[in-house]
């Protein structure tokens, strides 16, 4: 068994939440996480939090309580939530604290992310190249060329996301969309259509972690962290917002984080019962299935045709609707995945509960400029 447990979880609904700031959504998540395990903010010995557009996370203490706890801000692109969690795990494993909180929240303007270049003349953004959507279109175009993935499979993934999101009361997009509706929506960045992309959104997630040997003091259903790994890109990997890439090939930070996490946990991909994989767009979920070791490159085509990643399939993927149905509030997104897995492992996922009595669950978050975070949880 691992040394760290998750004993409390809280979430503010994802979506477009008018009238409430990003940080206040984080505060709601904090209060719900405390209520989930019957604790007070004053019981927290430390906190780690992150947000890209919602303000410095540590300033929320003026609302939740000026207890004097050490509160570390983290910002790590789309992997911010995963990084906050990994830092919280390390803090407890080091013996520096017995119990603390990982927090993520955000609130982004509608539309694609506005990527600001360096001071002075921004040739990259000025030339129309500073769009994350372009990378996703180009990565899946190359992948389809190399491994025979079809656009129909992209539509299958998106349609599954909205079907699962419809079963999730915390999700943003809760209307099921057929594969044809996905294919017929506006083409944004070939071959990806509007409904194949997630949108920057809003929301907050918080979770309380503690020493595993004390977990039963806080809950009768602790979930144990078997691994939490974060890796950055190596030379030769193909990453978002890169003006150039090497001709040499590296499989990228997702493969590296995945391998590290499986090694830490002492298990392999076949032992995973449910997985939440970064689906910034439909192609990303497909590519990340292989990069995380769940199949060989190209096998996704028949796995999707056979429904193997559906809620009742062999390996359910993105059971809460993923980024596609929840949107992507950068600071909160990686923690949303962990929140979903805690629900699934507790058996509390309601209509979208996977039926295979899950014991081990996997999350993977990916972000600019080439960061991946993986967690493995168990009952």
């Amino acid at each position: 068994m691992s040394n760290v447990a998750i004993v409390g979880i809280g979430m503010h609904e994802f979506g477009r939440n008018d009238g409430i700031s990003g940080m206040d959504q984080g505060v709601v998540a904090v209060r719900r996480a405390l209520a989930d395990c019957g604790q007070q903010w004053s019981d927290m010995q430390f906190a780690v939090g992150g947000s890209m557009d919602g303000g410095a996370a540590d300033t929320m203490v003026s609302r939740v309580g000026l207890t004097g706890l050490p509160f570390t801000n983290v910002v790590n692109g789309c992997a911010t939530g995963g990084t906050a969690l990994a830092q919280a795990v390390n803090t407890i494993e080091s013996g520096a604290a017995d119990i603390g909180m990982a927090i993520g929240f955000d609130k982004h303007e509608p539309g694609s992310f506005r990527i600001k270049g360096p001071r002075g003349k921004d040739w990259y953004g000025g030339s129309g190249l500073a769009l994350t959507t372009q990378f996703f279109g180009m990565k899946i175009t190359r992948y389809m060329h190399e491994y025979g993935i079809t656009q129909a499979s992209l539509a299958k993934v998106a349609s599954k996301a909205f079907r699962n999101g419809a079963l999730n009361p915390m999700a943003w997009r809760r209307k099921p969309l057929s594969e044809q509706e996905v294919l017929d929506s506006l083409m944004l960045s070939y071959p990806l259509t509007q409904y194949m992309f997630c949108s920057p959104g809003e929301g907050g997630v918080a979770m309380i972690l503690c020493r595993a040997d004390k977990a039963k003091e806080y809950t009768d259903r602790p979930i144990y962290l078997q691994a939490a790994a974060v890796r950055t890109r190596k030379f030769g990997s193909f990453e978002v917002l890169a003006p150039s890439i090497a001709i040499e090939h590296d499989p990228g930070p997702t493969s590296a984080a995945s391998k590290a996490a499986f090694e830490m946990a002492g298990i392999g991909p076949r032992d995973i019962d449910v997985a939440q994989l970064q689906d910034t767009e439909a192609g990303a979920e497909i590519m990340h299935m292989a990069e995380n070791g769940f199949c060989e490159h190209g096998e996704q085509e028949h796995m999707l045709a056979n429904g193997e990643t559906e809620i009742n399939g062999r390996l359910p993927v993105n059971t809460d609707g993923g980024c596609l149905a929840n949107g992507e509030p950068i600071g909160a997104s990686g923690l949303r995945q962990v929140y979903e897995n805690v629900l699934q492992l507790r058996g509390d996922a309601g209509e979208r509960q996977v039926p295979n009595d899950p014991k081990v669950a996997y999350t993977h978050v990916y972000g600019a400029p080439g960061i991946s975070g993986v967690t493995i949880l168990s009952r």
Partner: protein
Amino acid sequence: MATMVAVADGIFSIDNGSPTLLGSRCTNCGNHMFPRQSGCPKCMFNTQEDVELATTGTLWTWTVQAFPPKAPPYLGPIGDDFVPYGVGYVELDGQIRVEGRLTESDPAKLVIGMEMELVLEHLGVDDDGNDVVTYAFAPVASTGTIEGAAS
């Protein structure tokens, strides 16, 4: 005629209406970098020399930017004047894969592996009335140089 100016200094040079990308080469391991930088991400040595990159290559992957980017930072036409454009990585033989705009934006005419060459592309007019240009890749045999270019 308006003066032609590059979108920024140090990214590409213009000679007779044709651009050349300005890169770096590591003197230790030979790794190429674009744009120019000090410090080699491959071998970690800090001795680089300035080089000009190849002006032709093959298309490694691509997409089409079908909606207007946010402005700022985008300097090209937006709103009703927006025109979709291709974006791709072109592999410069033995050097590096460079990202850039493509002059072709029709998915039916873009094929991985096709021959591409470096050209200039108009973005817009700046506050001083200058004609702002960036670099782009064009399918070989369908391009020429921009008339009246100042070097």
